[in-house]
């Protein structure tokens, strides 16, 4: 099964109004080549799920600042001032989620779990409208699983099967998102012949397409 895709073929897999999970943390571990292609295609009304709003010229900041994002689900938007403005003006809906809860909601979406029971957010506005369960004498918020149509990831090494290694702090949300969407496309820094089976961070069964990063 040949999973390699050209950046031009990406068009077949995106549409206005879709939801996309984007790997990366302050744009470290974000597939910039795929983001640039989305920018060029100018797909609209996107729901993005990402740790943060990127930076004005980096990561999903580019899509946000080009007005392509209808809803952003993230833990932090502080490094992209335009995101705060669009939120304030109501042009973009921003749903802020505590970072650990965001990670666990994505994981539970991929793992077939019904949700996440976390103490994080209790007694704050994060708990508004959510069910609180008392378990063994302690309160927990019930946070719901997250899924999306597509995940776009950035892999440092990807083999032709689609197995992925993410180096250093580029890993962050990438391996979680790989499990929680209908389709997964990885941008590969390098496509390699062999990855030690102990070192694989995302098994190839999760990966639908591989796009080679332009250098």
């Amino acid at each position: 099964m040949n999973k390699q895709l050209s950046i031009e073929q990406l068009k077949q897999h995106v549409f206005d109004g879709m939801s996309i999970m984007v790997g990366g943390f302050m744009a470290v571990g974000t597939p910039e080549g795929i983001v640039d292609a989305l920018l060029e295609m100018n797909v609209k009304d996107l729901t993005l799920i990402c740790n943060d709003a990127g930076l004005p010229e980096k990561g999903i900041g580019k899509l946000i600042n080009n007005g392509q994002v209808k809803t952003l689900i993230a833990s932090h938007i502080g490094l992209n001032p335009r995101a705060g403005e669009l939120m304030g003006s109501g042009e973009m809906e921003v749903i802020l989620v505590p970072q650990g809860t965001l990670a666990e909601r994505i994981r539970s979406g991929g793992a077939g779990l019904g949700g996440v029971l976390t103490p994080t957010g209790l007694g704050t506005i994060v708990e508004e409208g959510k069910q609180i369960l008392n378990i063994q004498g302690k309160d927990y918020l019930l946070e719901l699983p997250l899924r999306a149509d597509l995940a776009i990831l950035y892999g440092t090494e990807v083999d032709t099967f689609g197995n992925i290694v993410y180096t250093k702090t580029t890993r962050n949300f990438n391996p979680l998102m790989a499990t929680a969407t209908d389709k997964v496309i990885v941008e590969a820094r390098d496509i390699v012949e062999y990855i030690n089976p102990d070192h694989v961070m995302t098994p190839h069964i999760f990966v639908d397409y591989i796009i080679k990063e332009a250098k």
């Binding site: 993230a74 666990e104 957010g121 704050t124 250093k168 702090t169 962050n172």
Partner: protein, 219 residues
């Protein structure tokens, strides 16, 4: 005292709170400075919520843009450090495996609640990992200037949206070291550049003062 001297003093005092082997998460800004003052006989494990333990100094050259801190800035890794994904990072944080977290704050109150992630209508950076950190860490230290240019930050009750309820253990400012206990805020140590009256005046909450020590700022 100018702001740089204040921050220096606060960071220096916070650094004395660590035990050898502690897992520590330092927030962005003032808390980051704490790393510069760790005593020589103490080795701590700096955790960064974007996915590493063993955070080293900011590199001067040979920058590797794949090694970053939670602010997205290039850092280095010390011997024995390791990387992990965001689920593991917050399993460490939420699961109580972080011994101390040091954060700045906009407000703290006498019940140990804090507010540091939003000023409605003005500044909405988001909570990032702060809510998980203060909920999960064994000890929560707030490192901040005592007031915001004279405006109280240590309150009877926070007025801004909370980051978490009842989670703060210690507050370190340029004026002193305060511990949150069931009966309120105890002034454990004070900086004798200030009188006790000046410190109380700079604090909305009533401080419980019972033979406080002089603030320990020895190197």
């Amino acid at each position: 005292m100018d702001i740089t001297a204040m921050k220096h003093l606060i960071a220096k005092r916070v650094a004395k709170e660590f035990k050898d082997g502690d897992v520590v998460n330092l927030g962005i800004g003032l808390p980051t400075l704490v790393a510069n003052f760790i005593p020589n006989d103490v080795t701590i494990n700096l955790q960064s919520e974007n996915g590493l333990i063993g955070l080293g100094p900011v590199p001067q050259d040979n920058i590797d843009y794949d090694i970053t801190n939670a602010g997205g800035q290039p850092v280095t890794m010390v011997n024995g450090g390791m990387y992990f994904d965001s689920a593991m990072s917050f399993a460490i944080i939420r699961g109580g495996h972080v011994d101390v977290t040091v954060l700045g704050s906009l407000q703290v109150d006498e019940s140990g609640s804090l507010a540091n992630w939003i000023i409605p209508g003005k500044m909405v950076p988001g909570m990032g990992g702060a809510m998980d950190l203060v909920t999960g860490a064994k000890k929560v230290i707030i490192a901040m200037t005592h007031t915001n240019k004279g405006k109280h930050k240590i309150l009877k009750k926070c007025t801004l949206p909370l980051t978490a309820k009842h989670q703060v253990n210690l507050i370190v400012t340029e004026m002193g070291v305060m511990e949150i206990q069931d009966d309120g805020i105890h002034l454990l140590e004070y900086n004798n550049e200030f009188t006790l009256e000046e410190i109380q005046d700079a604090t909305e909450a009533k401080l419980i003062i019972n033979q406080p020590k002089i603030m320990d700022l020895e190197e």
